[in-house]
């Protein structure tokens, strides 16, 4: 069930589950994120589009604390991701253990799947459940099997990743992330390394999750998918948010020249 329609009703801060404000991040002397503001409401699917190097992936990695941002704020369900506050040391970098706890509640699916090659599909999904959620093994197995069935891999549970196709591996990757019951699911170009005929099966899973109200932030180059699944599109360029709005609106009537140029380049392919 979708809680916000495609029209992208304005969200107050309390509605938003992910609040990003004035986010800045540099790698060395290169400014990768230059003052990003994005709010993501519960059940929303925000799609980030933009050319390579525009900072989309870095933004996702910051939200999951895989990268440390320099300044600004990312709050997921009210909790600042990268920094903690204490009486004596405001804006203290979080310890590795604190970060682990925060990351457990934020799901991420990777472009290159990153499945654990020594573990079966089922064990890949179970690892976080048993070690992070401290779930008994039998219960974790039930849950892993439930999610693997949901992504259409009922007959592949005991296969190693090396024995699965790219599309199947990516569906395991999705199952591994959603089985943790994340507050928000981050999808980082999850179809970019797949053969074209395998893209559909992966996107179908994501569409289903979106329809069930999973909050998602999606980086993708699949514009049709972006338009169908996204409740809001954000166009990024040079580490800045250039334009944001309802998908149809943004794709049909781009206001900013850089977005027009970006869409024109896509048309040509």
């Amino acid at each position: 069930m979708r809680m916000f329609g495609n029209e992208g009703a304005p969200l107050s801060m309390t509605d938003a589950i992910v609040c990003i404000s004035d986010l800045k991040k540099s790698f060395g002397s290169t400014l990768v994120l230059d003052g990003i503001d994005i709010n993501v409401g519960r059940g929303e699917a925000v799609v980030l589009i933009g050319a390579s190097g525009s900072g989309k992936t870095t933004l996702l990695r910051c939200i999951n604390a895989l990268e440390v941002y320099d300044s600004g704020s990312i709050r997921v369900d009210g909790v600042e991701v990268g920094f903690g506050d204490s009486e004596s040391r405001p804006r203290r970098r979080r310890s590795e253990n604190e970060l682990s706890g925060i990351r457990a509640d934020i799901g991420m699916v990777f472009q290159l799947f990153n499945l654990f090659p020594h573990l079966s599909a089922c064990e890949n999904v179970m690892l976080g459940l048993t070690k992070v959620r401290r779930m008994p093994k039998a219960q974790a197995r039930d849950k892993a099997e439930y999610w693997l069935r949901r992504v259409g891999l009922a007959d592949r549970m005991n296969n190693l990743p090396g024995q699965l196709s790219g599309g199947q591996q990516q569906r395991v990757g999705i199952a591994r992330a959603v089985a943790m019951d994340p507050k928000v699911l981050l999808l980082d170009e999850i179809t970019s390394s797949l053969d074209p005929e395998l893209v559909g099966e992966v996107l179908a899973v994501v569409r289903q999750l979106a329809a069930e109200g999973m909050t998602m932030i999606i980086v993708t180059h699949e514009m049709i998918f972006a338009r169908d699944v996204g409740t809001k599109l954000v166009f990024m360029d040079g580490g800045k948010k250039i334009e944001e709005g309802a998908p149809n609106d943004l794709l049909r009537n781009p206001r900013h020249d850089r977005l027009k140029a970006f869409l024109a380049r896509l048309e040509m392919h």
Binding site: N64, S100, A104, M108, N114, P117, L127, G128, G162
Partner: protein
């Protein structure tokens, strides 16, 4: 020919205790260096600077010096520092220190060869550093660690022959003692060589078995 055969067989009891010493020295060195080297390898790969720098210096120095020099340094130089070690503890210490340096580099390489995406994936599901190491990195690093490690184990077995230079009767020195009494260098040396070969061939066969066993994990 049958004379030579019975002669050779007759020397076996004299070589036997030497062989046992060689196996004992090798086993001690291999087991201790495997444990300590694995920890040093983790330190080299992930440790903070204050840990990494001394480990790096240790490893570079020990790997940069001939084993014989390490043995003589421990045996002949430590007494000047007031530490008098018996020959056996001295060579065990020297060989273990030397082997640990090599093992730590093998372990470091195996750990660092694990793709960064694996760490990212482990982080993303909320595994702590320790959990990522135990459940994600180590199982994968182990199979990259084994082949070069077994190779270095065979080096340790061969390297143990240097203990004869401080008077420990291993297979090497036992062979020389028998030769000293019988004036028959060729068959004795060949016998000793055969024994070293059998030990090391068994090890490399084991290595191939292990590699085959882990080969199903494709990436």
């Amino acid at each position: 020919m049958s004379d030579l055969w019975s002669f050779t067989v007759g020397t076996l009891p004299f070589l036997w205790s030497g062989l046992l010493m060689t196996l004992f020295v090798s086993a001690v060195v291999v087991v201790i260096s495997a444990f300590v080297g694995a920890f040093f390898g983790v330190g080299l790969a992930y440790g903070p600077l204050w840990l990494r720098v001394p480990l790096r210096i240790y490893s570079d120095i020990l790997r940069g010096i001939p084993l014989l020099v390490v043995i003589f340094s421990i045996y002949y130089l430590l007494p000047f520092a007031g530490l008098n070690l018996q020959p056996l503890p001295a060579v065990l210490l020297a060989l273990t220190m030397f082997k640990t340096a090599h093992v730590s580099e093998i372990a470091r390489g195996a750990i660092q060869s694990i793709a960064k995406g694996q760490i990212d994936a482990g982080m993303a599901i909320g595994l702590t550093f320790h959990q990522r190491l135990v459940y994600v990195v180590m199982p994968q690093a182990l199979r990259r660690f084994l082949p070069p490690w077994i190779n270095s184990v065979t080096d340790a077995v061969k390297g143990s022959s240097l203990v004869s230079l401080v008077g420990i009767v291993d297979l090497m020195l036992a062979s020389q003692q028998v030769i000293g009494r019988t004036y028959q260098p060729l068959p004795i040396y060949m016998l000793a060589a055969g024994m070293y070969f059998i030990i090391n061939f068994s090890l490399s066969t084991l290595s191939r078995r292990l590699e085959a066993r882990y080969a199903y994990v494709r990436e």
